[in-house]
Symmetry: C2
Subunit: 244 residues, 2 copies
Amino acid sequence: MNKVIRVMKTHRSIRNFTEKQVDEEVITIILNAARQASTSNFIQAYSIIRVNDPASRKKIATLAGNQTWVVECPLFFVFCADLKRSELACKMQNRQMLTGYTEQFIIATVDVALVAQNTMLAAESLGLGGVFIGGIRNDPVQLCEILDIPEQVYPVFGLCLGYPSDVPEVKPRLPLEVIVKEEKYSFDDLASIKAYDQTCNKYYRERSDASREDNWTKQIARMTVEPMRPHMKDFIRSKGFDLQ
Amino acid sequence: MNKVIRVMKTHRSIRNFTEKQVDEEVITIILNAARQASTSNFIQAYSIIRVNDPASRKKIATLAGNQTWVVECPLFFVFCADLKRSELACKMQNRQMLTGYTEQFIIATVDVALVAQNTMLAAESLGLGGVFIGGIRNDPVQLCEILDIPEQVYPVFGLCLGYPSDVPEVKPRLPLEVIVKEEKYSFDDLASIKAYDQTCNKYYRERSDASREDNWTKQIARMTVEPMRPHMKDFIRSKGFDLQ
């Protein structure tokens, strides 16, 4: 098993970090590797905001649902889908960018995710660990105020990084035969999902931290209790992503 | 430089492949590593369709803008954002999934991109190369017909993989000081973008294959000539992603 495969297979979210700071040199290595990710039409429609300021971190931790690791982690990034730079490129060529297409929203969202996954893996390969913070979308308007995020840019998720102070078990993912379809899309086999529920139940019961009775379908079903961040529609449009 | 960093830094899109097929064992290693990617709320909102059938490949290559490598590559995947499985999980728990939120669209699109980037890197670490095919979004309705893709699922991009028959130069990306912002979002420095245009101009002029006069801002500005896949709005909604 090569190191790339090993790093992927041992991925787990890390929320507890040692006091050890991350050297600037290490941060540069990580981000220089990450930015070589694939990008649709070479557009590179993303920006990364590095937030050190404790006051900003505290506000972000709170709005993300009291995720204290946002304050405590040595390194915190906010990954943004960014078409502002494309707008500038167009201006530099005396063109006006066409805006507001659903397609652009997809391109920018995918671009930033590709770079973020590289960032996570590059960091993990150097002994760091981390966790993505989708919770920043709880209150993206406030986040944009804190970070001066303009139109044509939207914050997609945060990333906490640092040296792990504990190493949780790897969480079992949906099995290959469920996620990979042959030749055409096919509906999931119920037996496979039930077996996966068993696997997840065992994982939740036996894990060293926060053991509980749970499984995958229960967890997904709990997400239906309330609308999922319904403010995102208006927020995304307010940033100039009209989803036309 | 460890292998993870090295694989990222030497990424380039590969469109020409040798005849060598990819062993099933290698494919399994790649996908088993890839599926350990981070996922929002553990939802794992994606599926991967592996397309071998030459007739399907040919149709997809054509609709993607005559991308012949879709036919020629040993291995071709279509990465889909997939909420169908969440719907099933809810049903198994006697719940009805709430659908149509912009937030769900983001979650599923990010999830699939994270797994896809893992797939690319895992493949590259084993000597393969590949290229993402956003061109499948040229005619997503036809693609869904070819691949029986139902509602609550949308195809985001394809991925061609195989053993490279040539190794193009690495394409220079936007420099760190442009993509990384400190503490708050800041507008790009014009001088940095101009310098990057020079870097790209040199790259396009000197590269071994398809040398041309070009730069980054010119390339981005050309994307303004026509609306960007304006059909995506209706298509996405037709798949049950209402972007509410």
